[in-house]
Amino acid sequence: MSPTPALEIRGLSKTFPGQRALTEVDLQLRPGELRALVGQNGCGKSTLIKVLAGYHEPDPGVDVFVDGERLHLGTAGAGDAAGLRFVHQDLGLVPTLDTCDNLAMGHGYERNRLGLISWRKEQRLARETLTGLGYDFDVRQPTGHLVISQRTAIALARALSPRATPARVLVLDEPTANLPATEIERLFDVVRSVRDRGVAVLFVSHHLDEVFRLCDTVTVLRDGRHIVTRPVEGLDEDALIALMIGRTLEQFAVPVEGAGQHGEPALEAHDLCTDVLAGVDLDVRPGEIVGVAGITGSGREEIALALFGGIPRTGVVTVDGRRVEEHRPDKAVDAGLALVPAERHANAAFLESTLRENVSIVNPGDFLRRGLLNRRREVSEVTTWLQKLKVRPPQPERHLGTLSGGNQQKVMLARWLRQQPKVLVLDEPTQGVDVGAKADIHLLVEEAAAAGAAVVVVSTDHSELTRLAERVVVLRNGRIADVLRRPHIDPDRITAATIGQGSQSKGAAA
C-alpha cells in the first residue's frame, strides 16, 4: 500500500441554515500528488477549502487526518499547525506592508540578541525564500506596489515558509485568476517543485486547460458531493465538463447570425479595452436583453464599468450613434446610459441617505421649480417609483441602510428606471438579493426592455442569464469567446462556455 496519505478526509458534510453545501465528501491526497479540484460555481469547492482552513466548522462526524495525525477542524490555526497551507484567491497580503512583514505574518520575525527584530536577517531570509521560488525583487517595497505575480509569489512563500511543522498539503485557490499567461507557467514550475519536495498540492481552478497542463489527478465536485477522483490522463475537456455539470453537451457551435433584431443598435461598443478587456465588440438593439458571462478575470467584472466610463477604457462606445466620452459617467448619463453596478454597498448605495435622495441623485434638477428643488414633487415622484418597484416599505424618507438587500437593490433600479434610459447596464443585478426580490427585479428588467431600452445583464448567475437574455456573450481572457442564442441558452451551456470549452482558451493561455 502507498505511504500514509498527506491528507485524508472521510465523510465531510457542511450544512448552512437551509442549505447543504457539502455531503459526505471523501478526499485522499498522497504526498507529492498534484490534484485538481474542479466543479461549477456553488459545487462546494469554496466551502471545502474554508472548512479545511478552519473558517467554517464542519458538521459532526467527519474524520480528517494530516500525515496520519487526526486533525480537529473548526479552529483557525489547527490546520496550519498540522501542515495544511493555503494560498487564497485574494492572497491575503497587507498591501501597505513590505514582503518581510507579510512573510512574518506566517512565521513571526527573526530576532537579534536584544529581542528586537533583525531586519537584516529578515530581508536576507525573505530574499532567499523568494529566490528559491525563482523570484527576485525588492523585498522592502510595500506589496501593494508589486505586480500580481510577485504578490502571488509572496503568498506562496508564506504558505511554504518553515514553521514548527513542515508543509504537508498546499491548497491553491484560483491562483491564476489574475495572472498574465506568461506568469502562469512560472507559477506552475514552482508548484511542480513543491510537489517534488513531497508536498501534496490541491489546485482549485476554473481553467480546465490548466488542470490538464499541471495536474496528475482530478477530483470533481457537483452539488456538494464527491463525483469522481481519477487520473487526468484519459480525460479531455468535454468529458471533464460533462462530469462537472452532470450530463454531456451536444456541440453547440452556434454561428453568429446577422442582424436578427429590429432597428439600429442603441448601444454599440467597438474594440472596448481595459487592463483586462482586450477588444470587445458589442451591439445591443432597443428592446433586446443581452447577457454577459465569464469567469473571474475574464473581463466580466470590468465590462459594465467600462461601457459606462466608470473605469479607464479605450475603444468607442456609442449610444444611438453618438459617441460617449470615456471616463465621464456624467456624460454617459446624459447620453442615456444607465448603470446598476455590482457590489451595491461600495458602488451605488448611499446607505445613510433617504430613499428619496438615493433615487433622485441622478438628475435632481428634474425637481426644480422656480429655481429651487420642490420637495413635494420629488416625494411624490419617488414614492410612485418605489411603489411601482414594490419597495418595502415605500417610504421616501426612510434611510436606505434600514432596508433589506433586495429592497435596496430595487431602489438602485428605481434611480435609473426613473431616467428611462436608452441603454440599461446591470452588473450582478441580483447579488445578495432574496428569491422574491430577484423575481421582481427580473420582471422589471424585462419591462424596461419591452419599453424600448437596450439591456445588458452581466452576471455570474447563469440561470439568471438564461431567464433574461436572448443572447449571451461569453468572455474569456478579455475577449468574446462565444455567443449563445436562444434557444441554445441554458445554465450548463453557459458554464461550459465560460470555463473554456473549445480551443480558443487553450491557445490564448499557452
Partner: protein
C-alpha cells in the same frame, strides 16, 4: 485626530438607524489621517441595523402626515440641543437671575458668536462633501490683514475688501488643486495651507498689529447695531440663509452629501465628484474671506495671530451640530443651535462666577458628551 469620522459616523438617529454622515461612516481600518469621504462600506452600525423587510408592507401608501408624526416622535434625539438650551436658560435664570436675565446678554451673545458662526457655516460645505478644510481660520486671518493693509495703503474699504475676497478665493482654488489634482489628503493639504497662511499674515502685517488707517465708515459699519445687535450678526444670518438654501434646495446640495457619503457611488451616478470637492473648498475659503472682512470691520485691528483661534470652536460647533436636526449630517441649523447653546452655557457660567477657563472646559465637554451620546444611540439602533 479623527474628529469627523468619530463625530459624524457615530451620530445617528436612534430609530432610523443610519443617516448620511458628512464625514461618512467610521472607517474600519485604523487611519492616522482622517478620511472623511471614505464611506465605501457599511459601517458596523448599519450592519447592526434591523432589516426592515415588510413591517409596513400592509400600508403601501404612507400619508405625509404619518411620516411627519413618526419623525416628530424622535424629537428627543434630533432636537435634544433645543431642550438642553432651554434647560440651560432656565437653570441660569434661577441661579443668577439678576445678571443672566438681561436683554443685553442676548445681544452680546448674538453678536459675539457671529464670527465663529460664519466660519462654521463655511466649513459645513467641504465637510458635507467629505473633505476637511483646516485652512479657513488662516484665510479669515489673511482676509483681515489684507482688508487692513489695503485701507492703510489708501484703497477704499470696498476695494480692500474685494482684494481680501480675491485672495481667499485663490487660496480655496489652491486647496482644491492640491486635493483634487494632486490627490493629497484634504486634512494634510489644508493643514499645510493654514501654516502658509500664518506666514502670509505675518508678511502682510509685518508682524505688527495694524490699528490705524481703517476707514471710519468701515469701522462704523462693523459696529452699527440693529435692535441692539451688531451688524455682523445679520451678516451671519444672511450667510446662513444662503448656505441653507444651497444645501437643501439646490441640486448641488445633493451632490455635496452624495460625494461625502459615497464618492464612488456618486461618481457612478453621474456626479462630478472632483468638481464638487474642488468647489466646496473654494466656497469655504470664500466664506472665510467674507468673514475676515466682517471681522476686520468689527474689531478694527489686524494682528498676525487673528484667525487660528477660531479653528477649534468652529469645528466643534459643526460636529456638535451634526448631532442635531439631521443627526449624522453636518447641517446649518444644527450648527447654529450648537453655537448658541454653547455660548449661552458659557455666558451663564461666567455670570455665575466661573473662572475664565470654563469656556474651553465647557465647550470641550459638551462636544465629547454630545457626540458620545449620539454614537451610543446609533449603536442601540
Amino acid at each position: 485626530m479623527n474628529p469627523p469620522a468619530g463625530t459624524t459616523g457615530g451620530s445617528r438617529s436612534s430609530s432610523e438607524g443610519a443617516s448620511t454622515a458628512p464625514g461618512a461612516a467610521p472607517s474600519s481600518e485604523p487611519v492616522i489621517v482622517p478620511t472623511p469621504g471614505s464611506n465605501l462600506h457599511p459601517s458596523p452600525a448599519e450592519v447592526a441595523n434591523p432589516v426592515v423587510e415588510a413591517d409596513l408592507a400592509t400600508t403601501p401608501e404612507t400619508p405625509p402626515g404619518e411620516e411627519k408624526g413618526r419623525r416628530f416622535s424622535l424629537g428627543m434625539d434630533r432636537f435634544s440641543g433645543l431642550y438642553v438650551w432651554a434647560a440651560l436658560i432656565v437653570v441660569f435664570a434661577i441661579w443668577v437671575p439678576d445678571t443672566f436675565l438681561r436683554l443685553n446678554n442676548v445681544t452680546i451673545i448674538a453678536g459675539n458668536e457671529a464670527i465663529t458662526a460664519m466660519l462654521a457655516l463655511g466649513i459645513i460645505i467641504p465637510l458635507a462633501a467629505g473633505v476637511f478644510d483646516l485652512s479657513f481660520a488662516g484665510v479669515a486671518g489673511v482676509s483681515v490683514a489684507v482688508t487692513a493693509w489695503g485701507q492703510v495703503n489708501g484703497y477704499s474699504p470696498f476695494i480692500a475688501a474685494l482684494m481680501a475676497l480675491v485672495v481667499a478665493t485663490i487660496v480655496g482654488a489652491l486647496n482644491g488643486f492640491v486635493v483634487v489634482q494632486l490627490k493629497v489628503n484634504s486634512f494634510i493639504a489644508t493643514l499645510g495651507m493654514s501654516s502658509l497662511l500664518v506666514a502670509a499674515e505675518y508678511f502682510i502685517t509685518d508682524g505688527k498689529q495694524i490699528v490705524e488707517g481703517f476707514s471710519e465708515g468701515f469701522l462704523t459699519l462693523g459696529n452699527t447695531q440693529i435692535l441692539g445687535i451688531p451688524l455682523p450678526f445679520y451678516a451671519m444670518l444672511i450667510l446662513a440663509a444662503v448656505i441653507y438654501v444651497v444645501i437643501e434646495y439646490l441640486p448641488i446640495g445633493r451632490y455635496l452629501y452624495a460625494s461625502g457619503g459615497n464618492p464612488v457611488a456618486a461618481r457612478l451616478a453621474g456626479v462630478r465628484v472632483d468638481r464638487v470637492v474642488y468647489g466646496s473648498l473654494v466656497a469655504s475659503s470664500l466664506v472665510a474671506g467674507i468673514t475676515g472682512v466682517v471681522l476686520a470691520a468689527r474689531i478694527g485691528t489686524a494682528s498676525p495671530d487673528i484667525g487660528p483661534s477660531y479653528l477649534l470652536p468652529a469645528f466643534s460647533a459643526v460636529f456638535l451640530g451634526s448631532t442635531q436636526i439631521k443627526p449624522g449630517r453636518v447641517n446649518v441649523v444644527g450648527t447654529l443651535i450648537a453655537i448658541y447653546l454653547l455660548a449661552t452655557g458659557v455666558k451663564g457660567l461666567q455670570l455665575a462666577g466661573a473662572p475664565t477657563y470654563t469656556k474651553d472646559l465647557f465647550n470641550g465637554l459638551a462636544l465629547i458628551i454630545a457626540v458620545a451620546l449620539a454614537a451610543r444611540s446609533a449603536r442601540k439602533a
